[in-house]
């Protein structure tokens, strides 16, 4: 080594120089690292709060009003000076809970949509700087099911499924003849017409094979519908063996499709016995059903029988439940009422008048919100003065400010049904060609060549077109 050639004094001097060099290097390293930490720390302090985690049920958000987006921040929130903006537009409320910001959406969100939530002016307790919190998520897609009756062509009937975000259809249930169907979650329940014209239930989507569920006795199934939030399907059942002098009861049953094959269970009225049902509807987000008996008495029952039925008075008509809410729309000859099933509060339901031409005949009403905005089926009848009459079916959205035509059948087809999606943002219009023949199904005939067109309620834009009808949005 070179040290061998140096004098002890030179070696000592060199060693001291090396020592100083090491100490300078060590100090410089520590200094640079400390400086970097200070600068980075100061920069972090000017940033304001940040999102560390977020939670939202993207499926529930499309089906229920009041769904919540929970944003966990990296520090407790002191205040929010700015506003909440949701894109695409949706009204919302903001709540501060410690280091959480909770955004509640006042209405169900659109399907298969990238939603951006921006909250301005969020100030945390740790830093004085205000930050803009932004979170983006994609809502769940929604299936659109239709029934395609093909038995007149010698082929089995199918329930066909497409999605709002993916229009490619797939067949999910097949049977020689299908009367109607409903879906809840992944399960699709079809009402099959057997050779003796009695009905059975076919359940697909639970396991690999289609299961057959026996009914309590021979009879027919009507008014089948699925819950939008629970694994439950409901239907009314008319037994064919009823005595001649006694009208057959139309009893409401529910079927649990959460897993293993279950048996249909009757829904009991306030007196603890099955009642003859005129109309019924699931309450979104719950296992409850609202039932109207043949005498007009309305009651709230639990499909699982967990609580006794509660009477809700007598009304002329059930007009369904406002999309994603617990607001029940009731109609009587002298007034309309909205009953909040969660609180028991009622309020008068006033619908704005539609601006219609003289030759227009208003038909069925489907209410969209508690402001009274509704869809209105309209039939336009026009004559050419020579005795020939032409008709056209329109579907209009009627609000306080305007009446907007969303869909028109044209002269070559007729409208069979109008069905609102669970989130109230899309509507399925079922049509058939003028002159289409009946398919002759016992008890539930329809027309051949049915087509279902899904239309955006806000813009009138056609989202999806699919063969078949009887959309399960229709109940």
């Amino acid at each position: 080594m070179s040290t061998d050639l140096r004098s002890p004094r030179d070696a000592d001097r060199a060693r001291r120089a090396d020592g100083r060099r090491f100490r300078r290097g060590l100090a410089a390293t520590i200094g640079v690292l400390a400086g970097a930490s200070v600068i980075l720390g100061a920069a972090s302090l000017t940033q304001g709060p940040k999102v560390t985690d977020a939670a939202i049920d993207v499926e529930r958000a499309t089906r229920l009003a009041g769904s919540r987006l929970v944003l966990d921040l990296n520090q407790p929130v002191d205040r929010v000076d700015g506003d909440v903006e949701v894109t695409p537009g949706a009204s919302s409320e903001l709540e501060i809970d410690g280091n959480r910001l909770i955004v509640s959406f006042d209405e169900p969100l659109p399907y298969h949509e990238t939603v951006t939530v921006t909250i301005d002016g969020v100030v945390g307790t740790a830093q004085p700087a205000a930050a803009t919190i932004e979170y983006r998520f994609t809502t769940a897609d929604e299936p659109v099911h239709t029934l395609v009756r093909r038995s007149p062509d010698g082929r089995p009937d199918v329930v066909r499924r497409a999605h709002v975000g993916d229009p490619t259809p797939e067949d999910v249930l097949e049977a020689p003849r299908l009367r109607s169907f409903a879906h809840a979650g992944d399960a699709v329940v079809g009402v099959a017409i057997e050779d003796d014209d009695s009905n059975t239930l076919r359940v697909a989507g639970i396991g690999d094979a289609t299961q057959t569920v026996a009914l309590p006795e021979p009879g027919t199934v009507n008014s089948i519908a699925g819950s939008t939030t629970q694994p439950l399907v409901g239907f009314t059942f008319n037994a064919t063996a009823a005595g001649a002098e006694q009208a057959p009861q139309s009893v409401l049953y529910t079927l649990d499709v959460s897993g293993a094959t279950a048996e249909p269970v009757p829904v009991l009225g306030p007196d603890g016995t099955p009642v003859s049902v005129n109309d019924w509807v699931f309450v979104p987000g719950t296992t409850s059903v609202v039932v109207q008996d043949v005498d007009g008495a309305v009651f709230l029952a639990d499909a699982l029988g967990l609580s006794p039925a509660q009477p809700l008075g007598t009304h002329a008509e059930l007009r369904g439940i406002l999309p994603g809410t617990t607001d029940l729309v009731l109609a009587d000859p002298d007034r309309g009422t909205i009953l909040d099933l969660a609180t028991g509060e009622t309020r008068e339901n006033l619908l704005p008048s539609a601006e219609l031409p003289d030759e227009a005949y208003p038909g069925r009403v489907v209410q969209l919100d508690d402001d009274g905005t509704h869809l209105l089926e309209v039939l336009i009848v026009s004559g050419d003065g020579a005795g020939s009459v032409a008709t056209e079916a329109l579907l209009a959205r009627v609000g306080e400010a305007e009446t907007v035509v969303l869909h028109a059948t044209g002269g070559d087809s007729r409208r069979l049904a109008t069905c609102l999606s669970p989130n109230g943002r899309l509507v399925a219009v079922e049509t058939a060609p003028i002159g289409a023949e009946s398919d002759g199904y016992p008890g539930a005939p329809s027309l051949l060549g049915r087509l279902t067109t899904v239309v955006d309620v806000e813009t009138g834009e056609v989202v999806l077109t699919q063969n078949g009808g009887s959309s399960d949005w229709c109940h």
Binding site: F22, L26, I30, N74
Partner: protein
């Protein structure tokens, strides 16, 4: 520059004191006796006397014991590997295969953990063995700091815990590599690297160089010496870790964690206190994943395997206090800077 090997030889010739082996053996015997005593008390104590200890004492015993139990297998594995390296690895085996360039050499050394996947507790005896086989002090520090992070077990467990979330795994690997090499570079410039080592370890090095035989007797003696050096340090470090965990409320740490700057230091403090092995720490900190920002978690995962109370106690068997203070300062500041930078970019 004077190599440590040369210097240790020189010191051996100038009459460095032999290690106080009897004292270490006595310490080990006392430790074993204490364990036997406590076991006897536990066996003979009726069940209904179990609540006699306060919650704090019970927590202290449990937490300290858990660190010992978690670390012990790796310490013994490290000792065995260390002895194997000293007995059977030819003195110039590593030297001939490592690149001559200092930076490349340390970069390769920092990846040795891939071949010798023991956690940081086992790396101390292994690093001592590698020092005695020719690595410089700076290089041994690079190995000591990098190997707990840059080894397959740690990488896999971190991936299992976090996946690619927020780049935590990538920053842990990159941070561990860079900091270990930075420390190695800084101490490679020291004019007298041997002075960074404790006199006892210098003497042990000198003695090992004097006896180059690979006899079972020598292996047994090395095992006793390494165990005597490591176990008391492990027990003391574990006890300190247990005591601090009992004394410092976790609520305080979590409250600090709400601040994006303080959270980095809070998790570093937690890493220093809980003294977990690097191959399980990712699952521990996963529980804090929703409370703390990614930068704080990266700082925890980088700082903890390099420096904690248990590691300091173990490293004190080899390096002087002054050296450990300097090393700790660099690692802590670098980990903090990394965590703050990740937070800033997150």
């Amino acid at each position: 520059m004077t190599s440590p090997t040369t210097t240790t030889r020189r010191r051996a010739r100038t009459g460095a004191r032999p290690p106080r082996r009897p004292l270490g053996t006595i310490g080990l015997a006392i430790g074993l006796a204490a364990v036997a005593l406590f076991a006897g008390i536990r066996i003979l104590t009726p069940e209904d006397r179990g609540d006699a200890l306060s919650d704090a004492v019970q927590d202290f015993v449990t937490l300290s014991a858990s660190v010992v139990i978690e670390s012990l297998p790796f310490v013994f594995l490290g000792i065995v590997l260390s002895i194997a390296v000293q007995l059977w690895l030819p003195p110039d085996f590593l030297m001939r295969r490592l690149p001559a360039n200092g930076f490349l050499r340390r970069a390769v050394i920092s990846l040795l953990g891939i071949l010798l996947p023991v956690c940081e507790c086992g790396n101390v005896p292994l690093a001592r063995g590698l020092l005695q086989r020719g690595l410089t002090v700076g290089e041994s520090m690079t190995f000591l700091l990098a190997a707990p992070i840059l080894n397959p077990v740690t990488i896999i467990t971190t991936y299992q815990a976090f996946g690619w979330q927020d780049g935590i795994l990538v920053w842990r690997i990159v941070g561990g590599f860079v900091i270990a090499n930075l420390v190695g570079w800084v101490f490679s410039r020291h004019p007298d690297p041997t002075s960074l080592l404790t006199p006892a370890f210098q003497a042990a090095c000198a003695r090992e160089h004097a006896d180059a035989s690979a006899t079972p007797r020598r292996g047994a003696r090395m095992f006793v010496e390494e165990t005597s050096a490591m176990l008391p340090a492990l027990f003391v470090g574990s006890a300190i870790a247990g005591f601090i965990q009992v004394a410092v409320s976790r609520d305080i740490l979590i409250t600090l964690g709400q601040n994006p700057v303080l959270s980095v230091f809070a998790l570093m403090l937690l890493a220093f206190v809980v003294a977990l092995c690097s191959n399980v720490d990712a699952f521990f900190v996963l529980a804090f994943g929703s409370t703390f920002m990614p930068g704080a978690i990266v700082a925890f995962l980088v700082f903890g395997p390099m420096v904690d109370v248990k590691m300091l106690a173990l490293m004190r068997t080899t390096f002087t206090t002054r050296t450990l203070v300097q090393l700790t300062a660099i690692v802590a500041l670098a980990s903090a800077a990394l965590g703050l930078a990740v937070n800033l970019a997150a």
